[in-house]
Assembly symmetry: C2
Homo-oligomer: 311 residues x 2
């Protein structure tokens, strides 16, 4: 096959949280609504079913339905990066095949994250078997490096080996390590490899280093600000825009990310059910929620005019 | 309901590895054969689908089939502890319900292990929702504490809260922390709670502390020796038996557990396919395999007369 596949765009991506009804089933309509809001308010693309999306708290069946419903709701599939990496390779294969059938822009693949201290040979074998079993030249894999959560880092040696073996398939990564040196080194060692920083605080630095954008939980809030950085990142005022992004993100990131975000989504939408999440995650405590609202207000970044209706 | 449910026996349990064919599908016949061998050679019961069984590398469908086939093959279900804890609660519910339908002696439940630094409230909610959704008085839950692998420890405060809320359901635990103080403290603080050490090296100590047995990967090899400890652990020669167990385990535990065990199973059975495993785990390198064989031979504990046929 020689077809040309349009790659996932660069730029500002939000890792979207998954709204849930009071019985903790997925609220598909609200997810589509929020996704549209993000694409209209600064996001170039969206990560669905990542860490922020509580993907690993959903069954394979639920993950398949979520993507089907989102695409059926006219969300542009090519602007979606879909998380499909599981502990069990048969699950990763099933979800990746399904994401491809939905014509998404790319899949984001966590390494299997139960066994720790595994070898690069073992991790290589996982990605290799996945690619062989999918057997589809349209496959575009983004590696998901998030060692604090997965407990399984993806080394530069492993990335280089995968890119050498599958240059048209292993095309990029989301680096959520928070380790700037690691991101910079990847950009330097692998020109053309599409590196997204896992935080919008590194948006300008990673663009300057040769990366392509950011994919972040807090971008659900900061997307309109981050978009100003991306729109003209060569311009002199890009640093001022980046400083503003960092200020707002800084107010949020001292709280547990997913509870804080779901609280802020609830405030913005005026809908308490946005705070629902599956255990082991728990909603933000009311005191912390009030504190977070106050901090954002002090930064003149109130989340919602309707927030007073919700308390 | 007031039915009396026979509890899982105490004593020596092996966490059985899952044999796989060359295409990495489960070899059900070999699993049943090995399980019978263990029950005839020192094991009081078996853990199926634990860490050693590569449970998290199998899909829910594969896990269901594995248990169905094992029970259909006349293995005594009441002597089986079945691992059913997943990251996604719907999966844990489905597997637990299925294990109950197969009338197993108990289920071993990992906490959801993707999200780290979660609260005891969040973990309590997971077990609480599981128990409520199962809604069956026959349910017997054993907590699975293996922080080095799961990244999610189970605190004494959490255990006590669960046991207070569900005294007939949350009945015991497997403590694979390797932390003797933690095991002893659990036995002291929760009399009647059925604590299995995650290593047979603590078999005698935990019986003396009030625990009920051990569940271990290396018991696949040491079961006949561990059984001598358990058979008469009040007798004066129990310590000598325990010392012999420790000596053999010590030779194995310096290698990566699952690759080492699968190598030893291959040697004992004279069947190279026993070494197959799913990535990210990889078979023991040949040099390490030779070294391990030599160490066991020096301890006068050769694995198999047929081992020379396999090299």
């Amino acid at each position: 096959m020689t077809e040309t596949v349009k790659s996932l765009p660069g730029g500002v991506f939000a890792a979207i949280p998954t709204p849930m009804r009071d019985d903790l089933s997925v609220d598909h309509a609200l997810l589509a609504e929020h996704s549209r809001w993000l694409l209209a308010n600064g996001c170039d693309g969206l990560l669905v079913l990542g860490t922020t999306g509580e993907a690993n708290s959903l069954s394979v069946t639920e993950r398949i339905e979520l993507l089907d419903r989102l695409v059926a709701d006219d969300l542009p599939a090519k602007r979606l990066l879909c998380g499909t990496g599981c502990c069990a390779l048969p699950d990763t294969v099933a979800l990746t095949r399904h994401a491809l059938a939905n014509d998404v822009g790319g899949v984001l693949i966590l390494p299997p994250f139960y066994y720790k201290n595994v070898s690069d040979d073992g991790l290589y074998a996982v990605y290799d078997q996945l690619i062989q079993q999918i057997g589809d030249t349209r496959l575009r894999i983004f590696l998901y490096h998030f060692p604090q959560m997965s407990g399984v880092p993806i080394s530069h040696a492993l990335i280089e080996r995968l890119v050498r073996a599958y240059p048209a398939t292993v095309v990029g990564m989301k680096d959520s390590s928070g380790d700037w040196d690691n991101m910079r080194t990847t950009c330097e060692r692998l020109p053309g490899f599409r590196v997204y920083a896992g935080s919008e605080q590194y948006l300008l630095p990673i663009l300057r280093a040769g990366g392509v954008g950011c994919i972040s939980a807090t971008t659900n809030v900061t997307a309109p600000l981050a978009a100003r950085v991306y729109a003209d990142w060569h311009a002199p005022d890009a640093e001022a825009h980046q400083a503003r992004v960092n200020e707002v993100r800084g107010a949020i990131e001292s709280y547990s990310a997913i509870p804080a975000l779901k609280f802020l989504m609830a405030e913005r939408r005026g809908l308490a059910s946005w705070r629902n999440m599956r255990p082991p995650l728990m909603p933000l405590a009311n005191e912390q929620a009030r504190e977070l609202s106050a901090r954002l207000a002090r930064l003149r970044f109130p989340i919602s005019a309707r927030s007073t209706e919700q308390s």
